[in-house]
């Protein structure tokens, strides 16, 4: 691999690992020291490798240098004596931290898990948690994060710093959560990871590579939770299955010029069957225990969508899953999707009656659904609903889809 690609790649995979381990050592109050040491390490790598060439084992090189820099920091700074020493005693059972900076695979995995639970602490807003996760858990720079959020760097920079300050204020400990804490907080953690995934999957950002990266990172974090016995829960596997099923359609859901392609118009050959198989695997792993999370239901719905062929069985299952999902937690988009599934099972007439009760009059998807249901039943009404939807839609991609629907109406 060329050196030019090597360092960014290592940065992506190793930065957050070393930061996690060092943050565990230093505690949340000195998280910047951990970040500085790791940034310095990568800077040293860039300088040294350019002159002396790439070492045989670049990762080991990074770990050694990071360890040395940490030890030097300890030696040089009396801050260590006064402030950090208490934290270290709290976090590690070892009495002599100067010689023990443990970058073993096991400690990296444990530290990352502790960091995930710290970053996904509900004391921060969802938005702040996601930005912080991208920064600390995924090694994304401010530039990439602001690109992903379609926001400016200044705002993202402030958001991340405020989120860190909040963790310090609340004195959030970076530590391996016990099983009671995992039960209490896994829901928040999974929610943040799912939002991170959705940010990538549904983002209107034109940067496809970046969007894929966000999805891949969310899946990597989920996989980390699956690899750890204490967080390898049915809901975690269900979330993983859901993300695999969604990702399998990543290539098929946008055209070359970035237009959204609706499910029924997608080219099935572009679906990634390896990911569908993986999703099925994780879905089967998720069906233990007696808790049915919303990820189970959503993964089930996504599973049935990987069966392109319409059958009464398929839509009956999807409707049942949507029924359960909407009973579990109300959301307008689920209410609309449920009504669409109902039309597939019980016909358009019944679905129209149901749809008109939803009364989501500020939502363009609501009018698109009505337009769809009225198509072939009362095309004049269908046209009116599509026109209303067009007036409410915000993005060009959405408007294009609605216009296409109107155009199709006038043909028949």
């Amino acid at each position: 691999m060329m050196e030019k690609e090597l360092i960014p790649n290592l940065f992506r995979t190793e930065y957050q690992k070393i930061v996690s381990v060092l943050s565990n050592l230093f505690g949340i109050h000195h998280i910047e020291i951990a970040e500085d040491i790791v940034s310095d390490t990568f800077l040293a790598a860039a300088e040294t490798w350019a002159i002396k060439g790439i070492p045989d084992n670049p990762t080991a090189w990074l770990y050694t240098v990071a360890k040395n820099k940490t030890k030097n920091y300890f030696k040089r700074n009396d801050v260590f004596e006064k402030k950090i020493v208490t934290e270290i005693k709290y976090n590690t059972p070892l009495n002599n931290p100067e010689t023990e900076i443990d970058l073993s695979e096991q400690n990296i995995a444990d530290s990352q898990l502790a960091m995930i639970f710290t970053v996904c602490n509900p004391c921060n807003s969802n938005e702040a948690q996601i930005a912080l996760a991208l920064n600390l858990l995924c090694g994304f720079g401010i530039n990439e994060i602001s690109d992903a959020f379609l926001s400016n760097k200044e705002i993202i920079y402030k958001r991340i710093n405020r989120a860190k300050e909040k963790l310090k204020e609340e004195n959030i400990k970076i530590q391996h959560p016990n099983s009671a804490e995992i039960n209490d907080r896994i829901e928040t953690v999974l929610k943040t990871i799912y939002l991170l995934y959705s940010e990538g999957y549904y983002s209107t950002s034109q940067n496809t590579t970046l969007r894929k990266d966000l999805c891949a990172e969310a899946m990597r974090l989920t996989y980390l939770l699956i690899q750890n016995e204490s967080t390898n829960l049915p809901a975690t596997n269900a979330l993983m299955a859901l993300m695999c099923f969604h990702s399998s359609r990543f290539e098929a859901r946008t055209s070359e010029n970035g237009e959204i392609i609706l499910y029924q118009d997608q080219d099935e050959l572009l679906w990634n069957h390896e990911l569908i198989d993986k999703g099925t695997y994780f879905l089967s792993k998720s069906s233990t225990g007696n808790t049915l999370s919303k990820y189970h239901l959503e993964a089930g719905i996504a599973y049935w969508h990987t069966q392109k062929k319409d059958s009464p069985e398929k839509w009956q299952h999807i409707l049942e899953l949507y029924n359960n999902l909407i009973i579990l937690e109300y959301s307008p988009i689920v209410a609309l999707n449920r009504t669409f599934a109902l039309s597939k099972v019980n016909g358009k007439k019944e679905a129209i009656i149901e749809a008109e009760k939803l009364n989501l009059t500020d939502n363009h998807f609501y009018y698109s659904l009505l337009g769809n249901l009225y198509t072939d039943v009362d095309n004049k009404k269908a046209h009116q609903h599509f026109e209303t939807a067009l007036g409410l839609a915000k993005t060009t991609a959405e408007k294009n889809i609605i216009s296409k629907n109107i155009l199709q109406l006038s043909f028949f």
Partner: protein, 114 residues
């Protein structure tokens, strides 16, 4: 917006009028769709709660007996709490309740907030 308790009752004891397994399956789907429909309209005021079919009865001489059945044949199949403007709207909701298809009935009570 007010909250209304809907109590579903029907005759669970008379053998001859009990639905067949196939009818029961279909009936179950009707319930699911009805709950789904209410939830989609954001009308459920509380999460759904399932109730055990057995139950106990305490009579006025403090005797405790098995089974929810006293003198009448009908017993409670379940209950939900919905959001509705007034009794009229609550009754409209209850008119779509699947218990009616099996000869049951729905009792409606409005929650009173003093």
């Amino acid at each position: 917006m007010n909250e209304f308790l809907l109590i579903f009752r029907r005759d669970f004891t008379t053998k001859e009028i009990q639905p067949s397994p196939e009818e029961m399956q279909q009936h179950f789907q009707q319930w699911q769709n009805w709950f789904g429909s209410l939830a989609a309209q954001d009308k459920l005021a509380r999460p759904l709660q399932r109730w055990d079919g057995q139950g106990k009865i305490v009579t006025n001489n403090k005797n405790v007996t098995n089974g929810p059945y006293v003198e009448i044949k009908e017993s409670i199949g379940g209950m939900i709490i919905v959001k509705a403007k007034d009794y009229d709207e609550a009754a409209e909701i209850a008119q779509n309740c699947p218990i009616l298809n099996l000869g049951g009935n729905v009792e409606i009570r409005m929650a009173v907030n003093s």
